[in-house]
């Protein structure tokens, strides 16, 4: 009954519950005292997503893993990622912009894809000079989600893979539709001059 995944999931679940309680208490304090503690809440959410990503890594790297695919409004997905990251980047002096030209609902694993984009934006934010840009568009029947920055670009290609990139690559590959399989592309071809992270989903 209790597989390693169950044990890990239950631990992560409990920890995230605790973090949720902490975040809600901070929200109360903000409301009560009229103060702004957005960075503290961001730190809590970042810790929670780090936990989730670890679990997701274990989950998607297993044999026979399947993504949880539901129809997703791509513009909504972009809005959410921007909401998660914009304020924090601004505090570091970096602006985050987003464009989305995809109207059709798209089948994808909303939470894991959002987490991959969050992770890519965090990475881009660390290397960017002023600007990070998120873009969603269709290209020949593919949904292309990209994150670009105006930093120096990856020093080596491919760059060394941490948990985030490892999960992103595997997750992209788990998206299969009409005989086509998703993929991850990393390059220094950003129109902003820096690194480009690109998920291509069928």
């Amino acid at each position: 009954m209790h597989t390693l995944l169950d044990v890990l999931a239950s631990g992560v679940h409990d920890a995230k519950n605790q973090l949720f309680i902490a975040e809600s208490q901070i929200a109360t304090a903000e409301a009560r005292h009229g103060i702004e503690l957005g960075e503290t809440r961001y730190a809590i959410e970042a810790a929670a997503s780090r936990l989730s990503r670890t679990l997701a890594a274990y989950h998607v790297l297993r044999k026979g893993a399947t993504p949880a695919v539901t129809p997703v409004i791509v513009g909504d997905l972009c809005d959410e990622v921007v909401l998660d990251q914009k304020r924090h980047l601004a505090s570091e002096g970096i602006s985050l912009t987003a464009t989305c030209s995809v109207i059709d609902e798209w089948p994808l694993d909303r939470d894991l894809v959002a987490d991959m984009l969050n992770n890519a934006i965090q990475n881009a934010g660390r290397h960017a000079t002023y600007h990070v840009h998120l873009d969603a568009r269709l290209d020949d029947g593919w949904l292309v989600l990209s994150v670009e920055d105006d930093g120096p670009g990856f020093t080596t290609l491919p760059p060394p893979y941490g948990t985030g990139l490892m999960v992103a690559e595997r997750l992209a590959g788990l998206h299969v539709r009409q005989g086509r399989q998703g993929s991850l592309h990393l390059s220094n071809t950003a129109s902003l001059g820096g690194a480009r992270f690109e998920l291509r989903l069928p």
Partner: protein, 448 residues
């Protein structure tokens, strides 16, 4: 955030601290009032008596219950108006796997921890979607299916409709299925599958095929779903229904028994398990499962006279006539009078065996009707059982013939044969089978 200032929230969570956290978030976005429910029963009670505008429900409710089960129950009893928002709150990834597979989903789900801003973003979107589908929901609710489909077609052609293209297809399929257009539903579900292999759409194909009585094809489709998505329990129920229709009650019982162990408090599933066990001749299982249903399905109005009839049936099959009599006599005469014809017939048939003094005259009084009326397969089996026991061959054979000619012949076949065998009349049953087969050949051969 003022949008939520008029709204009443209900927070459902068995953990006090988590409940407080959810309340805080709801208050931060300006909720007008926030109520709590700490468990499943409490939540049902509050929703029944005063439906909130927004429900924030934790996926894990303790005591063997889940938020998903609550959602299913609310839909089953029609307690969730379209205007009410149901948001599942979850701390773990496993619920995503459930949502991506099943047919019955909440308006949305959100993963903890989340900020008040994120909740607002999600709630805003749900409201926009509900607004977009509002006129459609109204027609569907008043069962104006043609209008509902016409509205969906308009929406499909609109720019906003592209953002909901799968939802529109899904609604089209569902409306076609409930309005009896099983072929149209199958086409709609296949259009979804052409785009992506959603388990719920594959199950929809199986459901549509089942309704068209294409059992072998339906079985093949649902086997795929069950094998690929074991967390999709309703697919197992559908498989069991198809197995029963194919006359494989033993396989149906095996499948349901396995899933029921994982969902010990899903009493709809247990009812289905009892039906399979009864058809399979496993009266003991049927009896204990139904006793559990009647004792523990605490949702008001959930336990119906039909459940008591099913329990009495299993008690008769188990030869526990004293208990069967007690179960039947426990139904008030006024309740019996309010039953539909099929249930009244079953009541009389079962009472004739378990309490001959009271039951036989009642059953005899109905005999002329039983020889002519259109009845359900379950009622015909009950009549057949009693007629065989009372030695009324003509009445029993008439039911057997009607069952063998009917759409559910395969489903009732095993049970019929068993009853005839019990009374040493296997040969007679075989002769009835032959006659029905001959009649069918004559009927199928064009005259001249």
């Amino acid at each position: 955030m003022s949008l939520y200032a008029q709204k009443r929230f209900l927070v459902i969570d068995d953990q006090p601290q988590a409940r407080d956290a959810l309340r805080t978030i709801a208050q931060t976005i300006g909720a007008f009032a926030v109520e709590f429910a700490s468990n499943y029963q409490d939540a049902l009670y509050r929703i029944r008596n005063n439906t909130p505008d927004v429900i924030l429900c934790d996926y894990v409710l303790g005591d063997g219950r889940s938020g998903q089960q609550l959602l299913e129950e609310l839909r089953r009893f029609n307690l969730l108006p379209d205007e009410c928002i149901f948001m599942m709150v979850t701390g773990e990834q496993s619920y995503e796997q459930v949502v991506s597979a099943v047919e019955l989903v909440p308006d949305d789900y959100i993963i903890k921890p989340f900020s008040p801003d994120k909740l607002v973003l999600r709630l805003d979107r749900i409201m926009a979607k509900k607004e977009f589908f509002k006129d459609y929901y109204r027609e569907k609710r008043s069962q104006e299916y043609a209008n509902a489909l016409a509205i969906l077609e308009q929406k499909q052609a609109s720019e906003t409709g592209r953002s909901y293209r799968f939802e529109i297809l899904r609604q089209q399929a569902e409306v076609k299925l409930i309005s009896g257009d099983a072929e149209g539903a199958e086409t709609a579900y296949r259009a979804i599958l052409d785009n992506y292999e959603f388990p719920w759409a594959r199950a929809g194909v199986a459901r549509s095929l089942h309704q068209q009585n294409k059992l072998t094809e339906a079985r093949a489709e649902i086997e795929r779903v069950v094998a690929d998505t074991p967390q999709f329990f309703d697919a197992a129920d559908l498989k069991a229904n198809i197995c029963m229709a194919q006359g494989e009650a033993d396989e149906a019982q095996r499948v349901l028994d396995e899933v029921a162990k994982k969902t010990p408090r899903n009493y709809q599933r247990k009812r289905l398990l009892a039906e399979a066990a009864t058809l399979n001749g496993d009266a003991d299982t049927a009896r204990s499962v139904l006793a559990d249903v009647i004792a523990n399905d605490t949702m008001p109005g959930a336990v119906t006279p039909a459940d008591r009839l099913a329990l009495a049936r299993s008690q008769v099959d188990a030869k526990d006539l004293i208990s069967a009599e007690k179960t039947l006599v426990g139904l008030k005469e006024s309740e019996v009078q309010n039953l539909d014809l099929d249930a009244q017939v079953s009541y009389a048939a079962l009472l004739a065996i378990s309490s001959p003094g009271r039951g036989k005259p009642r059953f005899a009084g109905l005999r002329p009707a039983l020889m002519s009326a259109e009845l359900s397969a379950a009622s015909r089996l009950d009549i057949l059982r009693s007629a065989l026991t009372l030695g009324d061959h003509e009445l029993a054979d008439h039911q057997a013939e009607a069952l063998l000619e009917g759409e559910e012949a395969k489903k009732s076949f095993g049970a019929m044969r068993k009853h005839y065998a019990l009374h040493g009349r296997e040969m007679d049953f075989r002769n009835i089978q032959k006659q029905v087969a001959l009649k069918r050949i004559k009927h199928d051969t064009p005259a001249g």
